[in-house]
């Protein structure tokens, strides 16, 4: 999976916000707000990467168990799918 490259991640007011730089988003006001760990995943998804690879990198970085990592990742991926920015 990989992210739509028309988005750039910015830090505004302590929040991580991805804004679209593509014309297709001109009319739908898409911006995605995320927390620090989601922003870490966002950066990983800049390049083609598998679900399992993302999970192992999250576990490595945040030292959490696999179940928690999966719950958090699934929730974030769902948000990205809804925004239509994830290629799978």
């Amino acid at each position: 999976m990989k992210l739509n490259s028309d988005y750039v991640l910015r830090t505004f007011a302590g929040k991580y916000i991805a804004v679209s730089v593509n014309d297709s988003a001109d009319n739908n006001n898409v911006f995605i707000t995320m927390n620090k760990s989601s922003a870490f995943v966002w950066e990983l998804l800049q390049k083609e990467i598998s679900y399992e690879e993302v999970i192992s990198k999250i576990i490595e970085k945040y030292n959490i168990d696999e179940t928690t990592a999966k719950v958090d990742l699934d929730e974030f991926l769902d948000k990205l799918r809804k925004a239509g920015v994830l290629y799978e």
């Binding site: 505004f12 804004v19 730089v21 593509n22 988003a25 006001n29 898409v30 911006f31 707000t33």
Partner: protein, 138 residues
Amino acid sequence: MNSPRDIVNNMGYYSATVHGYSMYPLLFDHRDSVYIEKSDEYRKYDVALFERADGQLVLHRIIKIKDSVLYFCGDNDFVIEKVEKQQVIGKMTEFSRKGKEYKTSDFFYKLYSRVWCFSPFTRRVLKRVYNLFVGLRR
């Protein structure tokens, strides 16, 4: 989808990439983005997002305030637009330029705002000088 006004009212903020060149040289089309916050108070030199009668969204700078009327002008424009306070959605408190984030409370941003928008005449001169050295290079 929700309109930017709804988003600002619900979440307190809004963020988007800039479209157009009316705020050049501060903000560049499809490159720079802004962070807009809900606000009750607007001041001269604030950059704010407002909605025209036809629904078009505009991000320009306040150059004068008189009662409930705000006078807007783009940094790259010379046309002054009269806007009622209820048309205003929120003010820019942070922005990113060439991939780097800035706050509107930053010293150099404030200095730029004051100098660039001091008067239409000085702006014409500054614009000439700026274009001579930097031009529309990205």
